[in-house]
Symmetry: C2
Subunit: 582 residues, 2 copies
């Protein structure tokens, strides 16, 4: 179901009902852009990653929100789904909410328009939204304005502005207004629109009114499109004025409620405390909080706490599909590829029907990259994997779908694009802290290319190069047990500097550890001895972290998927295809 | 005529011809937004104004460009016009040009979409553009890539990558590829698309090819949509390979030429050295330079020099209409109002026909805020004023329109919105430097409102308050001769600090003048004596600047026009309508 501003109020009860009845729901968002600069490093920690992505979230908008609810009907062993595709755009509100400036990324816009995204519909009929801070400020402004106007009625004070002489060239205009107001009093009309004029003339009109018609006319300025127009109305008694103010107050609150718009849907999802499924849900989650709830906290741990409180059960199908038992069977977990795999043996998709026979998305009518369709497809993929997990335990569908125990190992683990070390954001607990004894920080001349680095390390096997800037990179050894040997052999050189990952991080933190000192950035003194001797290497520990492992292949696929056609030196493989291959 | 990417090449010769034949041309642009923050102060100098607007230009895009050429046909005493409305959007180019990020202002987008601006057409069919820097970089990259590939052919070196062992789970895939390549050699096919795979697998395919088919197969990676696909072709001899490279080089240059797109039209306008007319042309001019030519210089005087070199004759109808002899007859110079006034007595619009009877905009079919229409309307308004200037000298039309002497006093003076003192950017010479002895810098408690300030100054008449921030503002006296008295009376106070405009500016420049010292920002020491005694006041000079004066009314109208509905304290009148008036 497509939801725009024109049918939003009408659709709201249906959405509420669908959320209340569902077993779980799937979500997906489309954005005006993804990143300001491509500054994610494959060796970022989840915390560093968050800091960078948070910045992007503040600049770009969500422009489409997909929500698909799935309700398990045990009797018929089918899932009943209901899909919603929301166009989201906050039109200019009023003086209570600032005029938004937002960033667009050309490649994202181009991508969407080629997927038939309708920007005219978005800008014309998008549903508004406010986050909690906006709502508070807006409400305060309405209250304050009501109080001020009420006080004014009580005091019955007129403006105490000093009277200013009417300039020669304005006299004709003012005389005309006096004439019109005089006739208006005698007429049976309720209000009179005065001729359009500038702020100075309006000032003169107010002044003239106070002088000539102090007790029988009220003047007010109304904003009509871009113009401010003066309207004269006949003076009301105090009770009538107060009633008019109360009506205006209620109208203002109603208007605020309209502007809250889509944020209400998010609040319904939060209130439900139900399982929310997304494919590569990280950006969707961050934007959802930022746009519809509150500013993303600066602190990563504050964010984790907040996100977990708001959404106690999240499942990321990108993470799930890259874990055991799926990682070896699923070669690509790009959403569409994932569906292709999951719709074939050894997988199977449970029966899914639209709730109440209402029309909706179908697999036969692919609308990839429409948020509502992608949410639907994500839910379908999730169901196939859930079913598979149950089948592995010889559960029948009813047993599988009647509780979430099977999903426990995967819940609240948010897939993070582009990071090495199988890392994810663990909303429900501690993040991984994988050993990085086989990672080095390298500084080198500007002329060096990936090939130079891989040649340097070639005696120790293949390496993964993650560029930091033109003259530095992190270098990860594939053969972890070669770390000590590599550091030892490569430490004495003029043309480049090498240091351990731990030392580099300590330097960045400004911490002085036994094996870190700013001087090692410069040329190492021979008296210091080879740093390798001071490094603890425990490669046996590398695989001992207890969590489902993702396949390297799927990570690489992701990295490719997320690459746009622009060349960039960040996170380039040492075996990068050189341009002669293109 | 509407011009998009699909008919641009075809339209280019017509555009060229229209520019070559015309007497003058009018232009207008639509943008994705106007300003990042509302930080223009009414007392900014043109230089300060430029610095602020330059920053805005870098963030927002031109999305529609209107060009209307007017050719005077003396024989029939008619103008022949030709109008073009260009949709402008640079789609993602390739690795040679970075993926653009641009800002949108919600109120601007909302305004445009309500004027029926077609964003889908823009994003799908917009004409591309590159500025000169982009073009240089792009060209260099094409040359360099050609050289590198040619060198590679010469050296016939194969990749020297270290051979890596093929992992168990990849063996099936690689064996399949070997089989396919073997059959391909025997076949009469020209090329073979290999199965989609990730970067690591592609690396293995290249390696396998080098080992198994070193002399009879070439492999290349092609970017197809978001995927990188491997293609095998049969090995060519050196001459064929060189020819293929030359063809690719020429294809690349052709592609570059396509991407230059709309920048060619701007170059045609520049080459013509003809009169360019715009209504409120400041932003159009700055964006035109920034987007299609080169980055706007940091230095204001560099900008003036550059703009004047590029466009030697600019006429701003907003400036013209606010000068003598128009300022007293024209009460509003918002473009549409301006046209309404100019189409009536005492004005008259010369006969205008479309060139060659081609269809185009007509006055009867208003398409306000479509760039092409606004350019056309601007030209029409300009013609009415030009005719009027001639008539005042008893010239007949032929004499009026046969030279530009009548326009001399107005040429190259760019109207600047929101500034006091009748200021404009004078591209052809020195800017005004109006005396500001009647302007004061005031620092006050956060609680103060406009009313408090106007009350403070009330003994000296009305004031104009231009807010700087919550606790400071410039205050301009309407009665200039009250300046010395005001400063004298108001200097000794605890709750606020007052200083002259000159002193404030000197402070900001960090210049120590006889009457400026950072300490005056703090509480003034009594030993210093009242600063007024050290101030030279010469109010008699205030009106002596020799330039056509703009009417205060039209300036105020502008300020209103440019106000959006958001409330802001910047450039608020002391007689601001309080909110009870709304």
């Amino acid at each position: 179901m497509e939801v725009t501003n024109s049918n939003f109020s009408e659709a709201l009860p249906q959405i509420q009902e669908a959320i209340e009845r569902c077993t779980f729901m799937a979500v997906d968002c489309e954005f005006t852009g993804l990143n300001i600069t491509r500054n994610i490093n494959a060796l970022d920690t989840p915390q560093e990653y968050y800091q960078k992505v948070r910045r992007n979230c503040k600049e770009f908008l969500i422009i489409q929100y997909g929500l698909c609810t799935f309700r398990y009907d045990a009797e018929s062993n089918t899932f009943k789904k209901k899909d919603f595709n929301f166009y989201i755009f906050r039109r200019p509100v009023n003086k209570n909410v600032p005029d938004q400036r937002f960033l667009c990324q050309t490649s994202s816009i181009h991508f969407l328009v080629n997927e038939s995204f309708d920007f005219n519909k978005l800008f014309k009929e998008g549903i508004s939204y406010l986050n909690k801070e906006d709502i508070e400020k807006y409400k305060d402004a309405v209250e304050e304005s009501y109080k001020r106007r009420s006080d004014l009625i009580q005091s019955q004070q007129n403006s105490t502005n000093e009277s200013i002489p009417i300039p020669e060239n304005a006299k004709g205009f003012i005389d005309d207004v006096i004439g019109q107001l005089g006739e208006f009093i005698k007429s049976d009309k309720d209000e009179l629109e005065l001729p359009r004029c500038n702020a100075f003339y309006r000032r003169l009109v107010y002044q003239t009114k106070s002088e000539k018609f102090p007790d029988n006319i009220s003047i007010e300025t109304r904003q009509i499109n871009k113009d401010r127009i003066l309207f004269a109305t006949k003076f009301k008694n105090k009770e009538k004025e107060e009633e008019a103010e109360r009506n205006k107050y209620n109208k203002d609150l109603k208007e605020l409620d309209d502007h809250i718009g889509f944020s209400k849907v998010i609040q319904m999802i939060i209130n439900s405390r139900k399982l929310v499924v997304g494919h590569n849900i990280c950006l969707d989650l961050l934007h959802t909080i930022d746009k519809f709830l509150m500013a993303l906290p600066e602190d990563y741990y504050d964010f984790k706490g907040m996100a977990h409180d708001l959404f106690p059960k999240i499942l990321d199908t990108k993470y799930l599909s890259s874990c055991e038992p799926f990682k070896d069977i699923i070669t690509s977990n790009v959403l569409k590829h994932l569906y292709d795999t999951l719709s074939q043996e050894p997988f199977g998709i449970p029966t899914i029907e639209t709730e109440d026979g209402v029309q909706g998305y179908t697999i036969g009518n692919i609308k990839e990259h429409e948020a509502g369709f992608d949410a639907y497809l994500t839910g379908v993929c999730f169901l196939a994997m859930w079913k598979y997990l149950g089948a592995a335990k010889k559960f029948d569908d009813t047993k599988t779908f009647s509780n979430f125990n099977l999903l426990e190992p995967y819940i609240n683990r948010i897939f993070v694009m582009k990071l090495l070390d199988n890392q994810y954001i663990n909303l429900g607990g501690k993040d991984l802290n994988p050993p990085r004894d086989h990672v080095f920080h390298l500084t080198f001349p500007k002329e060096w290319r990936a090939n130079d680095i891989s040649q340097l390390f070639s005696p120790f096997g293949n390496v993964y190069v993650s560029w930091i800037d033109e003259t530095s990179a992190y270098v990860t050894l594939y053969k972890k047990d070669q770390a000590a040997k590599a550091l030892n052999s490569l430490s004495n050189a003029e043309s480049y500097k090498i240091m351990t990952y731990a030392k580099r991080k300590a330097l960045l933190r400004g911490v002085s550890t036994p094996f870190s000192s700013p001087t090692v950035m410069k040329k190492r003194k021979s008296s210091e001895g080879p740093p390798s001797k001071r490094i603890k290497l425990d490669s046996s520990n590398n695989d001992s972290v207890l969590h489902p492992k993702r396949s390297i292949d799927s990570i690489e696929e992701e990295q490719l998927e997320s690459e746009n056609s622009q060349s960039s030196r960040s996170t380039t493989k040492a075996f990068i295809e050189d341009s002669s291959w293109e």
